[in-house]
Amino acid sequence: MTAISIIIPSHNRRDLLRSLLDALVAQQPATPPFEVIIVADKCRDGTQAMVAAYDAPFPISLLEQPGVGPAHARNIGARQASADLLLFLDDDVIPTPGLVAAHAQAHDDGVDRAVLGPYPPEPHISGQHFRILTQRWWNAHFNELAQPGHRFRYTDLLTGNLSMPRRVWDAVGGLDPQFARAREDLELGVRLMKAGIPFHYAPEALGWHHEYLTTSLHGSFRRAKEEGRSDALMALKHPEMAAAIKAARQLRRKGRGTRIKYGVLRHSGLLDRPLMAIAPGLLNLMEGIGLIRARRRLRGALLEYLYARGAMEGLGPQRADFMAQPVPGIAPPTPGIDIDIADGIEAAELALTEHRPESARILYRGEEIATLSWTPMTERWSGRHLRPYLARRAAARLIPVLLDGSMQAGQPAGQASNSAINMLWINDFSKQLHEAQWQWARG
């Protein structure tokens, strides 16, 4: 019996797809039986012939589509699936031998959950800043998920290495094809969060992302525009989370500056293509001669511009209505609870795990130490979030409590110096050098 259906949408990446299939053939022994469903979306590079000729010890289905985009392609693949567990892989993610088994194991207990597997960049050497930046983004993303106290958000959900029971997929309705080119994954994350489906990170379900073959500086500009468009659509579809979406915040900012900016942006569409065409060359030139800061600023400005243009296009005729609405305040839908850590931090953790509040105040003998605040489309607070959060965000008030169980007004950090408190968790070389120099100068 097939236990897992692996769904892979692909668009003209025959060779990578072949490597992916090779990696699936090489899954470790005792991997539950699986089938592979490849949705070849407007492939013109012989993908179909390669798949048809591929000799695999598992069933492979090939579905052809005329260019519907990855979101719809995944929906079509899922409809075809015969197993109760769906595993989505991108065509540039090459699984390690334990990937499929790790996904299966994470669903072993039958509880509904979305399982996120890591797919960090395949180590690839390039001195190009774009490449280094991209690698760093991916690594930081998965490092974050790996933290024991990580609080899952809708933005954690990516579809490159994701599994969930078929009934969950059907209940939330799969991906929304109107987010054809960007954010289709995050939008699914929003609906999973709304439905209360827990996210789970499975580090063993590792795949290597061959992003260096499939992303480029050039493409990043196109993507910025698509992200703007999708973010605007997201704000329309889920108005309650508009405050968390950059496009919505920017568009609803009041004042003449905003009106002029978007007045101009409405009519500057002809500029988009030429800008996208010359930007990579210009930025590479600046990088070559060492104008690093100027390059960073220019790239930031271009991305910002294209994002805003995308958002305008995404809203279309609804733009005026949308911009006129007020920015919704970020307020928790339910009142939070108070937890006093004077009874011990373990007791506080238990209380959080029991109540799973959307927000909470952490007190010590009635004095507030930290606020665990509400954020839209984020997992509710739980015991495991508490200690890492306090260490990072409430150090100054926590130190005196942990040192001698005291809190004094006016001296929040107790015996620690303010300059040390201000430098907590800052890794910058020059700032650390200044800290040492401050130590020398003192006294």
């Binding site: 001195g127 280094i132 130190i399 015996q415 040390a420 408190i421 006294g443």
Partner: protein, 394 residues
């Protein structure tokens, strides 16, 4: 003036700070459960002189101490590396006529729980003292490299070792017990080609040593960090590591080559072989890990003349590297970097002549730096000719 150098575990402190008559204060390394995690500087005449030592240290402790302390108190501590999973290493000491220091270094290495392959490269010695010393340590390998130049010696060491990792330590440094183990754990990331550790002052008995430590010395902070070409301009690669406490992956020599034999001590370029190597690592797109738990102790130069030479040498080497990059790698960024240096240096130079009374050392640092910088390009070109002449001979 002198300062005491202390190595203190915050849970096992003496009651008071004991200073000798000539010591004005103390630089204390702070440990938690044995792991180095921060530092504190205490002065004899400070207003909190009568408080218990623990209280004084907590008040003077830096942010990295509190980070580790918070993590410990909250039960978020990290596990120590498991030696069984670490790559094999050769520890290399390049030395010249410094048997007293070398002996201390070797004793420190042999006191580590990990027993790596140890190789001493005797670089153009004037006596056979080093050979005689090493002969007393049967487990330590000895190699003679008659051609002067620290980078020449480093390359000889690389050619004569087969371990996956080559860890360099200066002859005037002493490793902490778990130095190597912590240095080696950073190579788990395949993109990391080099790892550097924290270097503390072994002694602060002379004003020149205190001045060096005060300027920054080998300070790189107490926080673990991974550098790449975006976090750090490759010309500032010394932020990540220095030769006194540096391990490289052996495959780095295939990927980016050997050390530049026209650079560093023993050549006209004075210094910079390590910085140049780290620069090339970052430029190529690889990473350098910095791990403060990989701690060693360095005896800084004791005389002001030596300190002055060092200041001169560092700046000379920086311009040697800029020259190399501009002329031989055709890298236009070097030009921009030189101009940037000028823009900062010229105002500082003017200030340094106007406010001579504020000097903490008997020479004008900025002026010495400037002279070093201007000598850099010429010295590098001559050093390069010397290295090339040797290449032709051999």
């Amino acid at each position: 003036m002198a300062l005491a150098v202390l190595d203190l575990d915050i849970d096992r402190l003496p009651d008071r700070l004991e200073l000798t008559a000539d010591q004005e204060g103390a630089l204390a390394l702070l440990r938690l459960d044995g792991a180095p995690c921060g530092q504190a500087i205490l002065w004899r005449d400070a207003h909190d002189n009568m408080d218990p030592l623990r209280k004084r240290l907590l008040r003077a402790a830096n942010s990295s101490f509190w980070e580790r302390w918070l993590e410990r108190e909250l039960g978020l501590s990290h596990a120590d590396p498991d030696p069984a999973t670490l790559p094999g290493a050769t520890v290399v000491i390049c030395t010249r006529d410094r048997t007293e220091d070398l002996e201390r270094c070797l004793d420190g290495l042999l006191a580590m729980p990990d027993q790596p392959d140890i190789l001493v490269v005797d670089n153009a010695p004037s006596t056979d003292g080093t050979r005689a010393l090493v002969a007393r340590y049967p487990m330590v390998r000895y190699l003679l490299e008659p051609r002067p130049g620290l980078d020449v010696a480093r390359n000889t060491a690389i050619r004569n070792s087969s371990s996956e990792i080559i860890a360099f330590i200066d002859d005037d440094a002493v490793p902490d017990r778990l130095w190597l183990r912590h240095l080696l754990r950073n190579f788990e990331d395949a993109m990391v080609l080099a790892a550097g550790g924290l270097t503390m002052a072994l002694e602060l008995d002379a004003p020149a040593q205190i001045a060096f430590q005060r300027f920054g010395g080998f300070s790189r902070g107490f926080k673990r960090f991974t550098y790449d070409a975006l976090t750090t301009d490759p010309f500032d690669a010394w932020h990540a590591a220095a030769g006194v406490n540096l391990a490289i992956r052996r495959s780095a020599t295939d990927l980016i080559g050997l050390f530049d034999e026209a650079l560093d001590a023993g050549t006209l370029s004075c210094a910079g072989g390590d910085t140049d190597y780290c620069r090339r690592i970052l430029t190529a797109g690889y990473r350098i890990a910095y791990d403060p738990q990989a701690l060693n102790w360095h005896r800084h130069r004791r005389s002001m003349e030596e300190l002055q030479r060092q200041v001169y040498g560092y700046e000379c080497a920086f311009f040697a590297i800029l020259t190399k990059s501009l002329l031989f790698e055709r890298n236009p960024r070097a030009l921009l970097r030189g101009l940037k240096w000028l823009r900062h240096q010229l105002p500082s130079l003017a200030r340094s002549f106007r406010h001579q009374q504020h000097r903490t050392v008997p020479f004008n640092i900025i002026w010495v730096q400037t002279r070093g910088a201007f000598a850099g390009p010429g010295r590098y070109l001559r050093a390069r000719r010397v290295a090339a002449a040797h290449e032709r001979r051999s």
